[in-house]
Structures are given as C-alpha cells and as structure tokens.
C-alpha cells in the first residue's frame, strides 16, 4: 500500500464574492513517479474541478508552475512527491498578483520589467539581408546563453527579501537580464546607460545580499555572481559620476 498524501492547498477565488482565503485539505494515494503536476491534475479531475493552478510544458522548461511548496518557492512540475513528506502544503507565489488559488500573474510583472530594463539589443546597425552574419566568439555566445536561461518563473522574486518589502524593486530576474545585455557585444549601451536603469535602490543597490534568489532558482542560474558583477560595475560607475561633478 502506497502512502496517502495529504495536500493543504490555498484556496481563494477573487472573482467570487462569497469566496474567502482559506486552506483546503485533499487526500490522494501516491503513485509511482508522481510529481506535483500529476497530483494536482488528479485532484482537479477527480475531486475539485474548480481548482486553479498553472502548468504549461510540464517539463521544467517554461516556468509556469512556480508555487510555494512546503515553504519554499519551486517548480511544481519537477517536484516529485517521493521527495516530500506525507503532508504537503501548497501556496501561491507571493509578490505577484493572485489570479486564484495557486495561480498568479507573472506575465504582467515580467512585461513591465522588459520595459523598465529596455530588454532588447540597442544598436544603430541596420540588418543587411545580403551580408554574412556578424561574427561572434563562441565563448561569448555561450556566456550570453548562460544568462538567458531564465524561465521567468518568479521563484527568485518571491524568495527575495527586498522584493517582498518594496514593490518597485527590480529583483534578481531583472538584474540578470541587464547583465545579459551588458556582456553582449551587439548591445551598444554604456555602463552609464545601465546606471540609469539599475544604479539605485530599486535596482542593484537595493539588493540586501541574502541570496535566496540563487538558492531557489530552478535553472541554477549564477545569480549571486551576476549581482556581484553588477554591483562592482555600477559602484565604479557611481564613483566616476561623483568625481566628474
């Protein structure tokens, strides 16, 4: 006989005036190789069809299913129940606006972040369809991809002390995004340009260095190194500004 798992799941439907935030208990028999993706879908199909949660690729690639699993933000799709105790508590990610139950709105948050960081290559070069591609060192290309592996699940933001204190803090995902463009030779922005975006308490100087972001990142991005790299770079830029005055 396999384990009977007890799930405590946060429930609230903001679109239903009669709904109030509360925890609800579901019991499910554990099966072989069960993940939270399998478990939550079974609960929805067999016990409560109104239960809201987000999954998309269910393969750890898209970042849809970030939630707080027994106190820790993580991706539900690649969380195996056999690695968890018999009682599992699931809460929606904090910081992001709640859509309902375990579903939050990460899309709006990240879209605003693209605007704030101007998340695109800044260049005055025109594309010439008749020319060969511009060359790039393979190490540089691989280095950029290393930082572009973020799936925007929001786990780092939810685990961030500063982000939970202040709404306007950019957070690790955004700072990592800036670092991605900073090391890209195609982007013509200068350190001073980046300073305008992140050289303040909403940006790199707001980071308290708790580093929970790196601890919870399901893609194991080197967030700690990036924060250190940006802090040094922006610190120097800041000093240059002071002396120029």
């Amino acid at each position: 006989m396999s384990r009977l798992l007890k799930f405590n799941i946060f429930r609230y439907n903001p679109e239903d005036t009669l709904s109030t935030p509360h925890m609800e208990e579901f019991v499910l028999e554990e099966t072989d190789a069960m993940t939270l993706f399998i478990a939550l879908n079974r609960i929805r199909e067999e016990q409560d069809p109104s239960l809201q949660f987000d999954f998309c690729c269910r393969a750890g690639i898209c970042g849809s299913c970030g939630m707080v699993i027994n106190g820790r933000p993580g991706l539900a799709c690649h969380t195996k129940t056999k690695d968890l105790p018999g009682e599992i508590t699931l809460l929606p990610l904090p910081v992001f606006k709640l859509v309902g139950d375990l579903s939050v709105d990460t899309g709006s948050w990240f879209r605003e972040m693209y605007t704030r960081t101007e998340s695109w290559i800044h260049t005055d070069k025109e594309f010439d369809p008749a020319a060969l591609e511009e060359r790039m060192d393979n190490k540089t290309a691989v280095g950029i991809y290393e930082l572009e592996r973020c799936v925007e699940c929001g786990c780092c933001i939810s685990a961030c002390g500063t982000a939970r204190l202040r709404e306007d803090f950019l957070g690790a995902a955004a700072l990592n995004r800036v670092a991605r463009f900073l090391i890209d030779p195609r982007d013509q922005r200068t350190d001073a340009d980046y300073y305008e975006i992140i050289g303040n308490d909403m940006g790199i100087f707001g980071c308290m260095g708790l580093l929970a972001c790196e601890d919870v990142c399901p893609k194991h991005l080197p967030l700690q190194n990036q924060l250190g790299f940006l802090r040094r770079k922006m610190g120097i830029t800041s000093l240059k500004r002071i002396f120029r005055k």
């Binding site: 199909e45 690729c57 269910r58 690639i61 898209c62 970042g63 899309g107 591609e133 540089t140 195609r186």
Partner: protein, 611 residues
C-alpha cells in the same frame, strides 16, 4: 463588455505569431497577440535542438545550399508537401537565421580547429576552418544530407523566443496573456475578430481586427501520450472548424517522435541522436543499423519511430510498469558534452526520471509530437474559406512538411513562415478597409454566453468533461497511432462519434465562477473531438502509407491515387463526420516523386495512372 481594436490580431504568442506581429508592426500597423500564457512560456520555447538553414559554415555542412535543404525537405515530406512553399522556406531560412543573430540570438559559433564527434556510437574527427571562425555553427539532425541545424546549446527555442519577445516589446507589439480566444467573429466570408475569455477574471471580451492570424501551435493534446505542452490543445483549431467554412489540411499526418521519455512523455531532443546517441533494445544491442544500414538512428522520425515500434513488437522491448520501451544511450558522449550541449536532456533525465544519462540509459518510446496538419493556407499564409484569416507555424498546413517533417524544420518554419506571412499580412492590411457589423459581433458574443450558461447550468446534460476527454484520448491512442489498419480506424471513428455525442452533453460540476478551469476545458471539448475525427476519418480514407501515415493494410506509397492533400471541413454542426475533399499535393513540381533513400521503398508510381 470590453472591445479591443487592432490591425492585426494574432491568436498565439509563440515564434510564428510574434514574428508575424513584428513584421506588421514594422510596416506601421498595430498588432496584438493573444496568449494563454505569458509569451515566453509558449511551446516554441521547449524546442531544444535547433533550426535548419543551409548556411554551410561548419565543415560538415560544406556545399550546403537552399537546393539541398529543399531536396531534403521534399524527401522528408514523402512528396506530400507543396514544393513551392518548401522552396520559399529553404531560400529564406539562411537570411532569417542571420536576422535573428542581429536581433540578439546567441547562436553557437564555429570554433576553428580539431574536434571529435560521434556517429552511430563511433568516434570521428573533424577540423573546422579558420576562415569560418565566429560564424553560426550547425549540428547534425535526422534526415538531412548536411550538418544544417543552427542551435544555441540545447535551448534554441527558448533563446529565440526570448529574442523575439524582446523584439515585440521594442516594437510595441502587445501580448495579452492569460487570454483565450473561443470563437471567430465572421459572416461566412470575412473574418473580423474573435470573442475571447479573460483568464484572469473569466469575463468575455471582443477583439476586432482587419486581419486575424492563427498561430496557436499544434493540437497534440488530443492524444493521451504527447510531448506537447498542456496548452497545445487545439482550441484555436476548433474555433476555425466551428466556422463550417475553413478546411483543415492533412489532419491524418501526425508525427510520433522517437524519444519521448517513459513514463511522462517529455521529449529529449533529436540532438541526442544527431550528436551520436544510439538506440538500444532489451539486450542493450543497437538495432537501427540493421533496419537502416545507411542512416541508422538518423533516418527521419517517422522511419525511426516505426522501426522502434516494430522492434518492440518482435519482442525486443524493455518491459516496465508503464508498458514497453527501448533505451537511448548517450553515455559515450561524455560528461562535458552531456552537461553542456545537452544540458536540458541531462536536467530532464535527472529531475524527472532520477536517471543520470552520463552513466545510465534513458528509457524512451515513440510519442505523439507534431501535427503536420492544421489550418489549410495558400503560400501567402491566407486560410482557405475566410478572407482576412491567416495562419502560420505548427497551427497551419502551409504545407512544407507534407506527411513527415524533419527535425529542426518546424522551429525554423515558425520564424521563416512568420516572416513571410507577416509581410503578406502587412500587404493585405495596406489595401484593407473594413466595416465592422455590430449585429454580427453581438450575435457572436451572445452565442458564446449562451454556451457558457448552458455548461454551467447543465442544460444539455451532465457528462463529465474529463471522462469524455479520456474517451477521446483512448480512441485515438488505440486506432490512430503509428501503425494503422482499417479495423482499428473503423473502431476509432465509431468511438469518437460516441464521444462527440457525449461532448455535446457536457455539464460542469463546479460553479463556473471566475476563471474556472473546468469551463475552459468544456468550451473546447466538442471541437477537440471533431479534430480527432478529422484525424481518424482522414486516415481511414487514405488507403496508402506516406510519411508518418502508415497503413499496415496498404503498405505502399500510392502516388497514382494519393499524391493529394486531404481537406477536412465540418460543414454543419449536426454532422457526425467531417466532409473530406482532396487537392493535388503540389502544383509546382521541382522534384518528381521518387525513393527517399531510407525507410520502406514500395511505391505505386504516378506514371501508372490511366489517362
């Protein structure tokens, strides 16, 4: 009721949709993409392996050019494709890859000098040329004559999706995520927008546009075992089928990927085999080299999937609680390669299977993967049946893949077709004036509201949405799988017709308030069963074997009678079967039908046709 107006409305914010939207925005038009999820979560981002384009930078790709790419694509399609479209695609692909590099994709680049690579488990050496240093590198993929697949480690889709979405942000293309289109607004001649449901509040909303584009990806989720994301559910296709005038092309052409992992059907990339991985049976022996001495593991997907299934039927499968499977062996590629160029594979194996592919074998089996069929369009991406309706990417049957697509050709198609169709849409918009008929719009909304009310109040019955969906899954899985027969398909069609009746009688068990996921599932169920019937009935009628459509009772490819494309239309809502029509597979013939050089070779020639 909120009404949103835009020039171009794209249903779907994956690579094809966003690429087309960028093109329209570039021409000065407003564009909005609707998406079930934030754009970067689109299934495009799950594509690991790469994009085919004949840049010929790698030494193993020397001599490659659009002609060779075109020939591979036509052969890969088993001559089921539109050759004019395959030509457009092969010619434009290199330019599009370079454009992506300009926009920010960190393609892996050529590193000059000696390096080793694997083929069929054996080690070889190659020397990349100095003068090519820093140009876009390519890797090997199945069914191609040259190394042609441009890649970013094994996160190509993700990297290109990030760049494309950045480009959208830069160009002011809006993405309305958590929004689901549920019905097209049309008068039987022209399409003028959609009724959508907000997945933040559950409210209905109207989007009006001069041009509507379906770029919603595949519909693999009508099968129970699929590599597709849960959003690839055919909802947008169902909306087109519902018009009664828009035909779906070649719905019976369903690709099964050789390496879905067991039990969860998550895909591990073809890059594993491209980089030299081998398939092993229960005795840990290679077998693909017996069936396909020339190409072995690198024959095209339909061929490999079929031999795998055949080999398991012969009793060489590995037994497991989840049914039989085979092994994928990449151990010889070494730790550096596996944790570098195949890192996603490494992570999938360790996170979902508890298998370390550096030292252990990966359990795999063929799994539903790609829908060659979809909204039938002409070479400009304009859908048949409704003016102002376009489609591109996996959602469309444009049709460069015919009856089997090559690995790396779909991800490339998303941006190449998105670009080509996007430009055609911009041309269309330039010459377009439109009048929106208010009665038509309010009727469309009323019809959807009535449907929702009926589901919530169980007015048509109280069938359980998930059970009906399971019945559809089971029918397709049994009857319209890798190997097909008349008996199997007859039973499948009958079971699906039964499911269709039940789908019309679905009622919700929950209250349907707000976003309600049960309502979302119920709203598309009937349409999904209709799509399933198009697959099964089209397969039943097509009495030949071509590409991924394999009839055991008709093993030959029959060019005499079936060098055609199936068009399936659901003419009346009361019909219990789609109406099938046929058109020539291609009107332009650069390469006459011939042997593919791999797989079965039994062909009934088109020359046998009696005049």
């Amino acid at each position: 009721m909120q009404t949103v107006y835009t020039d171009l409305l794209v249903v779907g914010a994956g690579l094809a949709g966003e690429r087309a939207a960028v093109e329209a925005a570039d021409a000065g038009f407003s564009a909005i993409c609707l998406s079930l999820v934030p754009a970067r979560r689109s299934h495009s981002s799950a594509a690991q392996g790469g994009m085919q384009a004949s840049l010929g930078n790698s030494v193993m790709g020397e001599g490659d050019c659009p002609d060779v790419h075109f020939e591979d694509t036509v052969k890969g399609s088993d001559w089921g494709c539109d050759q004019e479209v395959a030509r457009l695609f092969a010619d434009a692909a290199p330019i599009e890859m370079r454009r992506l590099a300009h926009w920010g994709v960190p393609w892996n680049r050529v590193v000059p000098g000696k390096s080793i690579y694997f083929k069929g488990g054996k080690q070889f050496e190659k020397v990349e040329k100095e003068e090519k240093e820093g140009l876009i590198m390519a890797r090997s993929f199945g069914g191609t004559a040259k190394w042609r697949t441009c890649y970013t480690s094994d996160g190509t889709g993700h990297a290109v999706m990030c760049t494309m979405d950045n480009r959208c942000a830069q160009m002011g293309v809006e993405v309305h995520d958590k929004t689901e289109a549920i019905a097209l607004i049309h008068d039987g001649e022209t399409c003028s927008g959609v009724v959508a449901r907000c997945l933040r509040s559950g409210e209905l909303r109207v989007y009006l546009a001069k041009a509507v584009m379906i770029a919603s990806g595949g519909f693999g989720r009508i099968y129970p075992n699929t590599t597709n994301a849960v959003i690839c559910d055919g909802g947008a296709h169902a909306m087109c089928v519902d018009t009664g005038v828009v035909p779906m092309g070649n719905m019976e052409a369903v690709q099964f990927h050789p390496t879905g992992i067991v039990p969860t059907d998550i895909l591990v990339t073809e890059g594993c085999r491209g980089d030299g991985g081998t398939l092993l049976d229960v005795n840990e022996k290679r077998f693909m080299d017996i069936y396909e001495p020339e190409k072995a593991e690198l024959a095209s997907r339909d061929v490999v999937s079929r031999w795998m299934t055949h080999h398991m039927r012969e009793g060489h499968g590995v037994k497991s609680p989840y049914g039989e499977h085979l092994w994928l062996d990449i151990r010889h590629l070494g730790e550096e390669h596996i944790t570098g160029k195949l890192r996603e594979v490494y992570e999938i194996c360790t996170s979902f299977l508890g298998v370390n592919p550096i030292h252990q074998l990966i359990p795999v089996r063929p799994t539903q993967h790609y829908s060659m069929g979809g909204v039938r369009t002409n070479k400009d991406g304009a859908a048949y049946g409704l003016k102002g309706l376009f489609s591109a990417g996996e959602a469309a049957c444009w049709d460069m893949h015919g009856f089997n697509r090559l690995g790396g050709n779909s991800l490339a198609e998303t941006v190449v077709a998105g670009g080509i169709v996007g430009r055609k849409i911009a041309e269309y918009l330039k010459g377009c004036e439109t009048i929106f008929q208010t009665a038509l719009i309010s009727d469309a909304v009323k019809r959807q509201q009535t449907r929702i009310d009926a589901l919530v109040k169980c007015r048509n019955g109280s069938e359980n949405v998930y059970r009906v969906r399971a019945a559809m899954h089971e029918a397709l899985n049994k009857g319209a799988n890798i190997f097909r027969t008349r008996e199997g398909l007859d039973a499948c069609v009958a079971a699906l017709q039964e499911a269709l009746v039940r789908a019309k009688n679905v009622g919700l068990r929950s209250d349907g308030k707000g976003v309600n996921p049960e309502l979302a599932a119920a709203l598309k169920l009937e349409g999904q069963v209709k799509l399933a019937l198009m697959v099964a009935y089209g397969a039943l009628m097509r009495t030949e074997s071509r590409g991924s459509h394999n009839r055991e009772d008709f093993p030959a490819r029959n060019d005499r009678d079936w060098l055609t494309r199936t068009l399936a239309i659901w003419k009346s809502p009361d019909d219990t079967l789609p109406t099938l029509e046929y058109e020539p597979a291609t009107t332009v013939v650069e390469i006459p039908p011939g042997d593919r050089g791999y797989g079965k070779s039994e062909i009934i020639s088109a020359d046998d046709k009696k005049e």
